[in-house]
């Protein structure tokens, strides 16, 4: 049935007045919501390039500026340790994501390929863990980390989030799609399990690993609650806590343009990541990557 493409399957004759009206209304709806979505982004960029004086002089907000300035960005990096927050978040994100990838790859490999007593039972137990809400366990984790003296440390920030049952599940499903014969062939050739995992399985399942990585990076970049509980020393703040700190005591409450400059800087990495990996991210999220 290669004759006609799917999207050609529309009656392309002249549409009726009613059809046209419906189409226009639909388009209006889409444009309206697109504006609602885009406007905050526009406003934050706009405000971030308005001068401090100019902004405060606007009783009625202006929708554009003729004198854009970069001073707010300079202010954002100098008056508050934004660069520090940024660096912290990058370290936190990279280490957490990296550690998690190792942990889940091993676990998924064990469940998908190795045989040992009680494997299926343990896997079911793992799945059951998916139902435990984070908010229930955060209390004890807070106490645990505090008692271990790990508050205000990267270790304390990272440790509780280096495993994810959901990602183990996702990866295990993917590993299982790789034909058994490949494993047996590797065994016959004398390949060790570990080598098979890293030289065969992981390259084949790269798309899933990339998806998991991207989702985890988004999650890390936006994490707020745990870092807030576990750090009160600004030297260990992540961007989310940083922005909250800026808001509470940063530039003096009223320096909104500088605040917006900080917001732009913080939002940028994920937006860029999204524009590069748009398909991958949306696919990954659709596959069940629930936020939070």
């Amino acid at each position: 049935m290669a004759d006609t493409g799917r999207d050609n399957m529309e009656y392309t004759g002249a549409p009726s007045v009613k059809e046209r009206a419906v189409k226009i209304l639909t388009m209006l709806l889409l444009v309206l919501w697109a504006l609602v979505v885009l406007f905050p982004f526009y406003w934050m960029i706009l405000t971030s390039v308005k001068g401090y004086g100019a902004y405060n002089a606007e009783y009625i907000p202006k929708f554009f500026t003729l004198h854009p300035t970069g001073e707010n960005y300079a202010e954002a990096f100098s008056a508050v340790p934004l660069a520090r927050y940024f660096l912290n978040t990058i370290v936190f994100t990279l280490v957490t994501t990296g550690a998690m990838l190792i942990v889940i790859t091993f676990a998924a490999f064990a469940f998908a390929r190795l045989r040992f007593p009680g494997r299926d039972l343990i896997f079911v137990a793992f799945l059951a863990l998916m139902m435990i809400p984070n908010e229930l366990v955060v209390i004890t984790n807070f106490v645990t980390i505090t008692n271990l003296g790990l508050r205000n440390s990267f270790t304390g920030l990272i440790l509780p989030s280096v495993t994810s049952v959901f990602y183990i599940y996702l990866l295990k499903e993917n590993f299982e799609q790789v034909p058994d014969n490949l494993y047996y062939a590797a065994k016959v050739d004398g390949t060790s399990d570990l080598k098979y995992l890293f030289k065969v399985l992981c390259p084949i399942c790269r798309p899933t690993l990339v998806t998991v990585t991207i989702l985890k990076v988004i999650e890390c970049w936006n994490s707020y609650v745990w870092p807030r509980l576990i750090t009160d020393d600004p030297r260990y703040f992540l961007v989310s806590n940083g922005i909250q700190e800026i808001r509470e005591n940063g530039f003096g409450r009223e320096n909104i343009p500088a605040m917006m400059a900080a917001v732009v800087v913080i939002s940028l990495p994920l937006l860029v990541l999204f524009l590069i990996f748009r398909r991958k991210i949306m696919e990954g999220v659709a596959r069940g990557g629930l936020k939070g």
């Binding site: 004759d3 050609n8 399957m9 004759g13």
Partner: protein, 380 residues
């Protein structure tokens, strides 16, 4: 209902690497389908046959040309107002509705004075279910039915509103071989019982030949030939049609005609009254060969496959084009003798009416001056 296509053309804007160019899916289709006939639209995939079907049912609008149902022009009328019934390749049954609800669905859309009561709808559904023999399945969901049963439900749903024209898109392609044979007879029976003009699309020539009143052979959006299956088979308009119809396929040789003789591999094999000079393609149906120790066509014997009633002789000849071997079908009692098998050379004489000549360049059929000059058969 008589269906007339007048210079029907559909062009799509090119996509992907063909962007900017237009793709002509259907090119100047022009013929009339007599009332009550079963027509097979036949061609390789991508030939435009499905597009043609979608034009007739109204899911697509033609770029040029007209479609008439009887005397009424329906070109500008959307699909839902044309009164056509359609059976889709994958049946498109509503998975969340049971068989009865699926069949009734089109009736529930009727408005105004056509509106039916629940009982009337049910009665109509029962009637068509009876016709396609699925009465005992009315409560089942589509997922609980076999492929053949789903097919019947789809036909019932298309028939229940008494369409003016019934369209079937590759109706048998999702069935296994045995069921396909049975279902195509079934479609024939239902069509003859209802006398609804029916057009069906297929890429399987055997399927089209076996049940159609007429077949329409298409290639690259262009109709190659229209006619009764046997006529088209015996008297193809061009090499494409000759090669597309028939299993095993026709055997094609590079040949020449000189002074009234057909020469294959330089050897005269047959008299012909086609004008000589230029190279030709000689196409010989598998059943056009006769084993004959004194026959003019000499081939290298590769194998003899006995299939009961028939015997298939597989051999090679250097003038053969297209396929690597010649396949000829002969009666079981005319097998090559031991002498031929030993020497590995088999000689054939040819049945003249099974030997078709085509222009080597254009593929157009070459006809002898003396023989009856049949043009496009069955163009009505």
């Amino acid at each position: 209902m008589e269906v007339t296509l007048r210079h029907l053309t559909k062009r799509f804007p090119g996509r992907g690497k063909n962007k900017g160019q237009e793709v002509i899916a259907v090119n100047d289709m022009d013929f009339t389908i007599p009332d009550g006939e079963l027509i097979g639209l036949l061609g390789p995939s991508g030939c435009g046959k499905s597009t043609a079907l979608n034009l007739i049912c109204g899911l697509l609008a033609p770029t040029e040309g007209k479609i008439l149902f009887g005397d009424q022009e329906v070109t500008g009328i959307p699909a839902e107002k044309r009164g056509v019934g359609m059976v889709f390749q994958n049946y498109a049954l509503y998975p969340h509705l049971n068989v009865l609800q699926n069949i009734i669905f089109p009736l529930e859309n009727l408005k105004g004075d056509q509106k039916l009561t629940r009982e009337a709808m049910r009665a109509k559904a029962e009637e068509v279910a009876e016709l396609v023999q699925i009465r005992e399945l009315m409560d089942r969901r589509p997922s609980e039915l076999s492929g053949g049963q789903q097919q019947r439900v789809a036909i019932a749903r298309a028939l229940v509103k008494l369409p003016r024209v019934l369209l079937l898109d590759e109706p048998l392609s999702n069935l296994d071989a045995r069921l396909r044979l049975k279902t195509r007879e079934e479609i024939r029976r239902i069509q003859q019982a209802t006398k609804i003009t029916t057009i069906f699309v297929t890429h399987d020539q055997e399927e089209a030949m076996s049940i159609s009143d007429r077949i329409v052979v298409m290639k690259d959006g262009v109709v190659q030939q229209i006619g009764r299956p046997q006529e088209v088979y015996d008297d193809p308009a061009n090499l494409f049609v000759a090669q597309f119809l028939g299993t095993p396929p026709i055997n094609v040789f590079d040949a020449r005609v000189e002074s009234g003789k057909l020469l294959i591999g330089g050897e005269p094999v047959m008299d012909t009254d086609v004008a000589g000079g230029s190279p030709v393609k000689a196409a010989i149906r598998p059943e056009g060969f006769e084993v004959d120790p004194k026959g003019p066509l000499s081939c290298r014997l590769k194998a003899v496959e006995v299939m009961g009633r028939d015997v298939s002789v597989v051999c090679e000849h250097e003038a053969l084009t297209g396929a690597p071997t010649i396949r000829s079908i002969i009666d079981a009692d005319e097998q090559p003798d031991d002498e031929m098998r030993r020497s590995g050379v088999v000689r054939f004489s040819l049945k003249p009416h099974k030997v078709l000549l085509f222009d080597a360049e254009t593929g157009e059929r070459l006809r002898g001056a003396g023989r009856d000059k049949r043009t496009f058969a069955g163009r009505s």
